[in-house]
Symmetry: C2
Subunit: 350 residues, 2 copies
């Protein structure tokens, strides 16, 4: 094990998959070997990683022999099909799709918030939704201090959240706008250039989108706080990368903005940028490529009892997806939970 | 009077001023004569209006003789200097700046909400802040029906709200981004292309911006509801025109989404566009050039007692500024309050 882990990335050609590979390298995750998996369409192409070229293989159920850790970011249906196969082959799966997040038998983990939940995994650990991750990293330290009862969150989500095709659609429509021709929406239900789309994912019967429901349900599960009331409006904005959130919270006990800033300065993974007198607060363009969650515009509100409002920004591809997944792997490694399960069984059996 | 009113526009070369001229024409406001005023810099240029060319004059305190109605949109300091002079010369002023809005002696009017307030004017009527206007047009019918107690609003405000220079800054920075050069912010404290700026106007000691304070104070004044609690986060987004708002409301009495849609369908100046199954909701790009307020994404929330959430979009230059000002003038005319005050006095004196 001193040589590290045999790692696979499933969905390796996507925006999140490529960033997972980068983050493994940046954080010096002990990688003994790295295999890249994608759909049959991408198989045979090659990707650069850590100074070498890796040929992309087709992701198939029989591909996971001799893998310790499989980082999945290939969509819910691929995860549903392949993650159980990877687990059966002995791997631990950290899955970035929505497939398993609300399964009561599967931990949903943000390492700054609920690292202990990695311990009870049965092979799959779910990586939460991007907009949820950045919110709970900022809110959990305040919840532990003063108890959160209610959350209103309105999001400003970048096209990077839709992957390469979202970025391409925004770029293409900006060019169409400059050329004076009609914008042609493909990825989103409406034009996104110089526009807003208050719909992320499909609608549920109650009028919320699935993205909004994720922010309610995943927040409660990660924070172990099933009684917190949450309402979210999630909006796609013409920003390339990094999500922003206007958040308004009601607490059980009083909390001042200064106290909140102090709790957040001591919190893991959070950077407070909050000096209105000098127009200092996070903006998404500044935070592309950063792994932390940035919080500013902290102030009281009188809409809630013990009310506090703030503005939260993070790179949705990094902390909202790839970095959080690698942090989960680090947490597993730290606890000795990453050795290949089949091999562990063999060792035990002698 | 059958020949109409002698109208002046102060700030005639600006985005709102030019739209005021257009809206006067579109709505067939009875204009006997139209004079265009601007700063000394723009004086001497000419503007097209209703098929003729009008030379722009310098806005000076002595310029308002023989004016019945002066529509001001030239900033607070110009309004403070010139509006009293216009009133002294006999004109009624409808002022789009923030100069007089919270003055208890000056009505602040949205004709769909508080038209009767035009009656007690002493010469100046204030036109509210753009983001406030569209919110109260949508919320007041619901307030009358079920009583609003609390409002959380997060805005997505276009660069058109900053006038011509905001639009130019966004366009220029998009070109800079395409050229791969650094973005140079001038109008806004941070880049706005592919970015968000969670600061509109300057900051107050409590950590709110003046724009956010306007949404609190003006809402209460227009709706005659001093006890409603409001918290706003106002954010500049890279949209050219039309403002959007995610709004979450708590009511005194229960209200269902269907009831809200019905109240809003019957409300003046509101169009309900709310069919999630077909991705129908308003987006700002669609609403440029429209005079109504558009509401969609109506659904319940459990964060508030009797909670309701919605998405509100309107053209901030039209309903948020120019159209509302002209509607105030129409309301004054309808009540016979637009005849030149000096001339009325002369008539009375005989």
């Amino acid at each position: 094990m001193t040589q590290g882990y045999r790692v696979a990335i499933v969905g390796a050609t996507g925006l999140v998959g490529r960033t997972m590979a980068t983050v493994l390298c940046e954080r010096h995750f002990p990688v003994r070997s790295l295999r890249m998996f994608a759909s049959a369409r991408s198989a045979g192409s090659s990707l650069e990683w850590n100074g070498r070229s890796i040929v992309v293989e087709e992701a198939r159920p029989d591909a996971f022999a001799d893998i310790d850790l499989a980082l999945f970011s290939a969509g819910a249906s691929t995860s549903r099909e392949l993650a159980p196969a990877a687990v059966a082959a002995g791997a631990i799966v950290v899955d970035n799709s929505s497939a398993w997040r609300m399964d009561p038998d599967i931990p949903l983990v943000v390492p700054e918030v609920n690292p202990d939940d990695v311990a009870w995994n049965k092979g799959i650990i779910a990586n939460p939704n991007c907009s949820t991750i950045q919110m709970v990293v900022a809110l959990d330290p305040l919840h532990r201090a003063r108890g959160i009862r209610r959350i209103v969150v309105d999001t400003y989500q970048s096209v990077g959240g839709t992957g390469n095709k979202g970025v391409a659609e925004l770029r293409e429509q900006v060019a169409q706008d400059a050329a004076g021709v009609a914008l042609t929406p493909n990825v989103y239900p409406h034009p996104i250039a110089f526009n807003l789309v208050p719909q992320i994912d499909s609608f549920l019967p109650d009028g919320s989108t699935k993205e909004e429901a994720k922010m309610v349900n995943e927040t409660r599960k990660i924070m172990h706080a099933p009684l917190i009331k949450v309402i979210a409006t999630t909006v796609r904005v013409p920003v390339l990368c990094a999500h922003s959130e206007a958040v308004h919270v009601g607490f059980e006990r009083p909390i001042t903005p200064d106290e909140a800033r102090e709790f957040l300065r001591r919190a893991p993974g959070v950077i407070v940028e909050d000096d209105p007198s000098r127009s200092i607060y996070p903006t998404p363009r500044d935070k592309i490529g950063r792994d932390e969650v940035f919080v500013g515009r902290i102030r009281s509100n009188d809409v809630f009892e013990n009310g506090l409002s703030m503005w939260i920004v993070a790179d949705n591809i990094r902390k909202g997806a790839a970095t959080n997944a690698v942090q989960i792997a680090e947490e597993l490694a730290r606890r000795g939970l990453l050795a290949n399960r089949k091999e562990r069984l063999n060792v035990v059996r002698g």
